[in-house]
């Protein structure tokens, strides 16, 4: 029998070899994952494997069959048989028993304890919920890392205190979509799922980028974060970094 070398006895030995990574910072960061769908699954996987230990996830939905092509923690038996956030928390905890994952069933509009979080990862599927999280995060100076996918296209926008926010990058086409969604559902559901094209490779890429930004923030390296949006084209394989100007008309910056 051979014994493992010392460096193989530390789960995070290989992570610690990356100079800027602060494992204590990552371990202590309180993460909020908004949405337990496809992005939420991939984000959770990367958070736990990266060493984050305090994670809260919320989603109002049950697992449905069409989730199974891109949600690593959901199985056939989960379909119509459990809340996404509960299953995600339970299965992701199996990756590392030291992680504490709290599952909630709240709409983001019903979250009241924003100050309990150090970093927010948006894994949402609609503009209304994004704008809500964006406003709360910006108001409280909590870094917000928003992910989005559309078929083979994806984006990650990092909203840091005093920087441009999600709303700064939006225009009337976003509000037209928001109104359409509202009239389709008859209510401003936080987790209404439009039937967008979605597949795992784009989701996985975007989620990994989101978690890498969370690692930078938790490691005290905000200066290394994406400024301000990474736009991923899965067909060409290109990722373009786009700068966003703070919009004077954006209501989140009034009085600054």
């Amino acid at each position: 029998m051979i014994s493992a070398k010392e460096y193989d006895k530390d789960r995070f030995d290989r992570s610690k070899r990356i100079e800027w990574i602060d494992m204590d910072g990552i371990r202590n960061a309180r993460c909020f994952v908004a949405g337990a769908g496809a992005l939420g699954n991939e984000v959770m996987k990367c958070l736990v494997l990266s060493g984050f230990r305090d994670i809260t996830v919320t989603d109002t939905d049950h697992v449905v069959l069409s989730n199974l092509n891109r949600c690593v923690f959901f199985k056939d038996g989960d379909v119509e048989n459990g809340m996404k956030s509960d299953i995600l928390a339970e299965r992701a905890s199996e990756l590392d028993r030291d992680v504490r994952i709290t599952a909630r069933h709240d709409k983001v509009q019903d979250i009241g304890d924003w100050n309990e979080f150090d970093v927010i990862l948006g894994c949402l599927d609609n503009i209304s919920a994004r704008l809500h999280v964006n406003a709360h995060a910006y108001y409280r100076d909590i870094p917000y890392i928003d992910g989005g996918t559309d078929g083979m296209m994806g984006k990650v926008q990092v909203v840091l205190p005093n920087g441009p926010c999600l709303r700064c990058a939006m225009n009337r086409t976003h509000y037209d979509v928001l109104v359409t969604r509202f009239s389709c559902t008859g209510k401003a559901s936080a987790f209404y799922i439009p039937k967008n094209a979605a597949e795992i490779t784009t989701t996985s890429t975007v989620a990994a980028m989101q978690v890498r930004e969370a690692m930078k923030i938790a490691s005290g390296c905000e200066g290394m974060c994406i400024r301000d949006m990474a736009y991923y084209n899965g067909i060409s394989g290109e990722t373009t970094i786009l700068n966003i100007k703070k919009d004077n008309m954006c209501e989140n910056h009034m009085g600054e």
Binding site: A169, R172, V206
Partner: protein
């Protein structure tokens, strides 16, 4: 005298030539391009090089000049 720009559709790869008045806004370009390609009711943004343009900016504020090539991008909404 308008400003001549090309707008590339990131999804289709097609390009549209447009003549924009200096007092028109970035949103006017987004709206016209989306209408031209009869896009689904989706959210779109417009970029010039490494800058995502602010929708309320005029051509001058956005520093859009004759010959610029802009790109219309769908803003991914799914999660």
């Amino acid at each position: 005298m308008g400003i001549h720009v090309s707008v590339r559709n990131a999804t289709l790869g097609a390009t549209l030539k447009m003549d924009i008045a200096p007092n028109e806004t970035v949103y006017d370009i987004i709206e016209s391009a989306a209408e031209f390609w009869k896009k689904d009711p989706k959210a779109y943004v417009l970029r010039k090089g490494k800058s995502l343009l602010t929708a309320t900016d005029t051509m001058m504020e956005a520093n859009i000049m004759n010959g610029d090539v802009l790109e219309l991008l769908p803003d991914p909404e799914g999660g």
